[in-house]
């Protein structure tokens, strides 16, 4: 059993605004180095309903599937299957909760379901390059 990833931030904005930015402006905060098209001028679309697609639209119009909405409850929560860079059956689960706190919003992300990779070829295909990227990013973060 692989532990889920939990990342929590507190933002000085309403849950409505935070939810809107997460689901309508993902191209503004998702690292461009991790677009599937490899381009900088991409857009990200969250179709606003359960079963809706999450996909990237590259500058040249090509579309790349990133995931599928499994819970849509603005401005409290959005959950989705997440298979960016992977085959669809290798999706992990992303759950994002937006809670009002005194001066803003707590945003809690849980990415779970990594056991889908156990003993699997898909992980072999992507794991090495991704871990290398991760270390690159870590050293970048340490340097800023």
């Amino acid at each position: 059993m692989t532990d889920p990833i939990v990342v929590e931030v507190e933002v000085a904005a309403t849950p409505e605004h935070a939810f809107r930015v997460w689901t309508q402006k993902a191209d503004s905060w998702w690292p461009a180095s991790h677009s599937m098209s490899g381009t900088e001028d991409f857009k990200v679309v969250f179709e606003p309903f359960v079963g809706g697609r999450i996909f990237e639209v590259a500058g040249d119009g090509r579309e790349f599937d990133w995931g599928e909405i499994t819970e849509w409850d603005p401005p409290r929560a959005v959950s989705y299957k997440w298979h960016i860079f992977l085959e669809r059956d290798k999706a992990t689960l992303v759950d994002v909760r937006f809670s009002a706190i005194g001066y803003g919003t707590r945003v809690r992300l849980v990415n779970s379901g990594f056991d889908v990779f156990d003993d699997d070829v898909a992980a072999e295909r992507v794991g090495r390059v991704e871990s290398a990227w991760g270390s690159l990013l870590a050293s970048y973060q340490a340097s800023v």
């Binding site: 933002v11 309403t14 997460w22 402006k25 990779f117 794991g127 290398a132 690159l136």
Partner: protein, 101 residues
């Protein structure tokens, strides 16, 4: 053994790795997708192989290159770094576009 992170510091090599992540390929197949010559692709592949990121095998007269393997913990560790980075950027963008609550 070369340093994998130095090996990935070059944008052409990142493109090669991204392409091999989709499927294993020969030098010729890779060169047909990139704006560089076959010898240049071979040079990059050698650096990636020395860094342990790709492996190669003979198939007839061709050499086929594929990404080297890694496990679930490495995928998870990678995503943890990406989400941390994404969340920091998210916070900045949210706060810079908020009209105040």
């Amino acid at each position: 053994m070369g340093d994998p992170f130095a090996a990935l510091g070059d944008p052409t090599r990142r493109l090669i790795v991204g392409s091999l992540a989709r499927r294993e390929q020969s030098v010729g197949e890779l060169a047909s997708q990139l704006p560089i010559s076959r010898p240049a692709v071979s040079k990059h592949l050698r650096i990636l192989r020395d860094a342990g990121l790709v492996s190669d095998r003979a198939e007839g007269a061709k050499r086929i290159y594929k990404l080297e393997s890694a496990g679930v913990e490495e995928v998870r560790d990678y995503l943890e770094v990406v989400w941390g980075d994404a969340m920091r950027r998210f916070k900045l963008f949210v706060e810079n576009t908020s009209s105040g609550s």
